[in-house]
């Protein structure tokens, strides 16, 4: 399945460091579209950092530096996301991210999901309403919140908050979805729901998930990459040892 | 695009604000410095009198700011000297002993005291002096002592607040160590908590010093005069730098006097800059990040 889809993300010669520590060391990876790729490995910054290289969120860290190139196929064309002409807000609408700890904004459920649309300049109320409903349905959350959209999002349970964050990322129809240990702060039931949710999103997005739970990885992923000392040391199912080319 | 336009406008406004603020201050201070730099010399302080004679109080200084400088120093010393014990004691009481209800009520009063315009503190000092004059001793008039007392009232809330806040922000483990080793509450406070809070408390003291040195409204009503020489006693009139500056601006007799006004303004500014640097030094060196937050 992996080999036949087109390549969505192409990363070459990635180096990343901040302060004194070297986090990523000459990394190469191709991520195929409409697949779920898991990134695993021992605790450390490497896995989450790799994700932030795909939406350039690492640039907020003081003293951080990277080298290398990342090309992502967006809207039919191959884009160098580190090219000066690339707009960060646009990039992040196409490459969405969900964090380890749910981070709803201090506003109502509806406003949370509508937020990215507002940032994108969409003001048509009807259009926003439809998009919010679609996103919440995609995130398996609509039935639970449809009668309380005006409630503060922080009142939701942990699992619901995380689904809200996923809905919020989905509302602008991203082509890539990056999830950083999305279930590590949740209980077993909530985890199960989110895993089902992620599987269902494979149709619409290309998904990269960081996880430290191998059982979860085996349940969800089409492919997993193991990071160690800043390099990929294992690539299942292809099981190639990646050398620096 | 509308959003991009809005972005540019907001960013431009932010930068413009920063620019306007910086330019205003630079202009005001630059103006003072360029006009008054030439006056900085012993003559500014001592006029025609020989400096040594003036310092030893053998001769009066007539056209110099030495008396005003001495007046300010005495004033600050007295006021802070009176306010510090009471303020720190109150701060300790609030942080360590006060019941929650008491704390809330007292806290309100201290905030009100902090917010009272300085002119009202001056009015109070003046009225109290007159009241005492009528009812106790004809000797009491607005004077150095009354001014110092009034200034002490003015800075009291700063001292209370900084002492209280510093003590309250000490980490829990610091509070638990001494009692766990058998120290009484008093011992903990005086041997552990206060020494740890020193930089915060000292910053509060420096803040008070600055406040007393620059205040004009209070002293205007409680005994400062334009010409008094070195004060003979606590109950006599005195001069002070801020009032000197004010008087010169309102009515200067000749260009020389105006220039002395500029010089005085620079001297006062230098004193405040020094106090500012001192506070910054304390903040960085003694690493008290509890009061100021990590930056």
């Amino acid at each position: 399945m992996t080999a036949t889809n087109e390549i969505k993300i192409r990363a070459r010669r990635l180096f990343f460091a901040y302060g004194e520590s070297r986090v990523l060391n000459d990394l190469h990876v191709d991520i195929h579209s409409h697949t779920i790729t898991a990134v695993v490995g021992a605790s450390g910054k490497g896995k989450s950092t790799l994700l932030t290289l795909f939406n350039r969120l690492w640039e907020d860290i003081p003293d951080a530096r990277m080298q290398g190139s990342v090309h992502i196929r967006l809207e039919g064309t191959d884009r160098d996301i580190y090219h000066p002409s690339c707009s960060l807000p646009d990039l992040r609408r196409k490459v969405g991210m969900v964090f380890q700890t749910p981070n709803p904004l201090p506003m109502s459920i509806y406003k949370n999901v509508a937020f990215p649309l507002k940032m994108a300049g969409i003001s048509n109320k009807a259009r926003i309403g439809d998009a919010v409903e679609t996103a919440l349905k995609q995130a398996f959350l609509w039935d639970e919140v449809k009668d309380r959209l005006r409630e503060d999002a922080r009142r939701l349970s942990g699992g619901q908050q995380q689904r809200l964050c996923i809905a919020r990322a989905l509302v602008v129809e991203p082509e890539v979805l990056l999830l950083d240990e999305p279930t590590s702060s949740l209980d077993a039931t909530a985890t199960e729901t989110i895993e089902k949710l992620i599987l269902s999103l494979k149709e619409t997005c290309t998904i990269v998930v960081v996880s430290h739970d191998m059982a979860q990885v085996e349940r969800m992923a089409d492919r997993w990459l193991e990071l160690s000392e800043g390099r990929i040391v294992n690539d299942w199912p292809d099981n190639q040892w990646i050398d620096s080319v | 695009m509308k959003a991009r336009c809005c972005d540019k406008l907001v960013t431009a406004w932010a930068w413009l604000s920063g620019l306007v603020l910086t330019a205003s201050i630079a202009t005001l201070l630059g103006f003072l410095l360029t006009k008054g730099a030439g006056t900085l010399s012993p003559a500014l302080f001592f006029g025609d009198t020989v400096p040594l004679d003036a310092l030893l109080l053998k001769r009066q200084v007539f056209e110099g700011i030495f008396p005003a400088t001495v007046g300010t120093l005495l004033l600050v010393g007295l006021a802070v000297g009176m306010a510090v014990p009471v303020g720190i004691a109150t701060g300790i009481y609030m942080a360590e002993f006060a019941a929650p209800r008491t704390k809330a009520v007292f806290g309100l009063f201290f905030d009100i005291l902090a917010g009272i315009p300085s002119i009202l503190v001056g009015l109070f000092g003046f009225s109290a002096a007159i009241f005492l004059h009528h009812h106790f001793s004809g000797q009491i008039t607005p004077c150095l002592l009354i001014s110092a007392l009034s200034l002490a009232f003015l800075v009291l809330p700063y001292l209370i607040r900084t002492t209280q806040t510093t003590l309250e922000n000490l980490p829990r483990h610091v509070r638990m160590t001494a009692p766990a080793l058998g120290a009484s509450k008093l011992q903990t406070i005086f041997y552990v908590l206060l020494p740890q809070s020193l930089s915060g408390i000292v910053s509060g003291i420096i803040l008070s010093i600055g406040r007393c040195a620059e205040d004009t409204a209070v002293i205007m009503l409680t005994g400062v005069v334009a010409t008094a020489g070195i004060p003979a006693s606590l109950l006599s009139g005195y001069e002070a730098l801020p009032f000197y500056i004010y008087t010169v601006s309102a009515q200067y007799a000749d260009q020389a006097e105006l220039m002395r006004g500029y010089g005085a303004a620079i001297v006062l500014l230098a004193v405040c800059a020094l106090l500012f640097a001192l506070t910054a030094f304390i903040r960085h060196r003694l690493a008290d990040h509890l009061l100021y937050g990590a930056r």
Binding site: V172 | A217, A265
Partner: protein
């Protein structure tokens, strides 16, 4: 153990004494201002003009002076302070924020009389030239200078509020495609409204309570001001000027009425500010 009781008692006395001072100041003003009520001139205070030679002690022109000068100063200073705070906390990177912040902190230490002195010899002539009328000592000049004076108070409060916004909200906004300005407008400001209000209230209290700027720059005329370029007198400046009058006269007693107004206003701002802080304790 006995010594603890003694020390605690002493500390309590110090605290009680401090409270007593606050009450005493207010009490003095009420008591000394009482003759105004008993002699029937109380309403006169709020209706007539200030003509002490004719027995008229209206302080309304001074109230207006305070209102206009402080109000205008806030109008100038608020957008300026907000912009500077935005620059320091959110929008600028590198050395600029730190330097600006340091400058603002330094400004809090500059004596008011120094501002006034520079204002008289620099700002007033400029305003005089620019407007072509009057002496330059007017509401406009005083407001401009006062705006600069109170800006640091607001900027420091605003900056602290902005940097206190939880990082998770900022990360969320970034990841969802908000530009720095959008993040500022839609996340940072809504989260900081308590700090913003507190800063505004404190700056307003400071503006109304300031004596020297108006005293030195606004002209001190006792007539009701009609325009920005008119000379005006504020309540604190009025107190400073009239204090030379005979202590037992009614003229002097009006100062206590002014004092009570000022005391009441600043106490109100303090109470409102404490409300802000208290409420924050409840919210997440």
């Amino acid at each position: 153990m006995r010594s603890q009781g003694l020390v605690q008692g002493l500390l309590a006395v110090a605290a009680a004494g401090s409270v007593a001072v606050t009450v005493l100041i207010f009490g003095f003003m009420i008591v000394l201002g009482l003759p105004l009520v008993t002699s029937g001139t109380f309403f006169n205070l709020f209706t007539s003009s200030w003509l002490p030679n004719e027995g008229l002690y209206g302080i309304v022109p001074m109230m207006a002076g305070s209102l206009f000068i402080a109000g205008l100063a806030m109008i100038f200073s608020f957008p300026l302070s907000l912009g500077c705070a935005a620059l320091v906390a959110v929008l600028a990177k590198g050395r600029v924020p730190a330097l600006l912040h340091r400058l603002v902190r330094f400004m809090t230490g500059i004596p008011t009389v120094v501002y006034g002195f520079a204002g008289i010899f620099l700002l007033v002539p400029v305003v005089r030239e620019w407007t072509g009328s009057g002496s330059g000592m007017c509401i406009l000049s005083a407001s401009l200078l006062l705006a600069i004076l109170i800006a640091p108070t607001m900027i420091l409060f605003f900056t602290d509020s902005f940097t206190g916004v939880p990082k998770s909200y900022l990360a969320a906004a970034d990841a969802l495609g908000a530009t720095p300005v959008q993040k500022f407008l839609h996340v940072v400001i809504p989260c900081s409204w308590r700090g913003l209000t507190t800063g505004v209230l404190l700056a307003l209290g400071r503006a109304v309570g300031d004596t020297l700027i108006a005293l030195m720059i606004a002209g001190n005329a006792t007539a009701f001001p009609g325009s920005l370029l008119d000379s005006a007198r504020t309540l604190p400046a009025h107190i400073a000027l009239v204090v030379a009058a005979d202590f037992d006269s009614l003229e002097f007693r009006t100062l206590f009425a002014c004092g009570i107004l000022l005391y009441a206003f600043t106490t109100l701002t303090v109470v409102l500010t404490r409300r802000m802080v208290a409420d924050k304790g409840g919210a997440p």
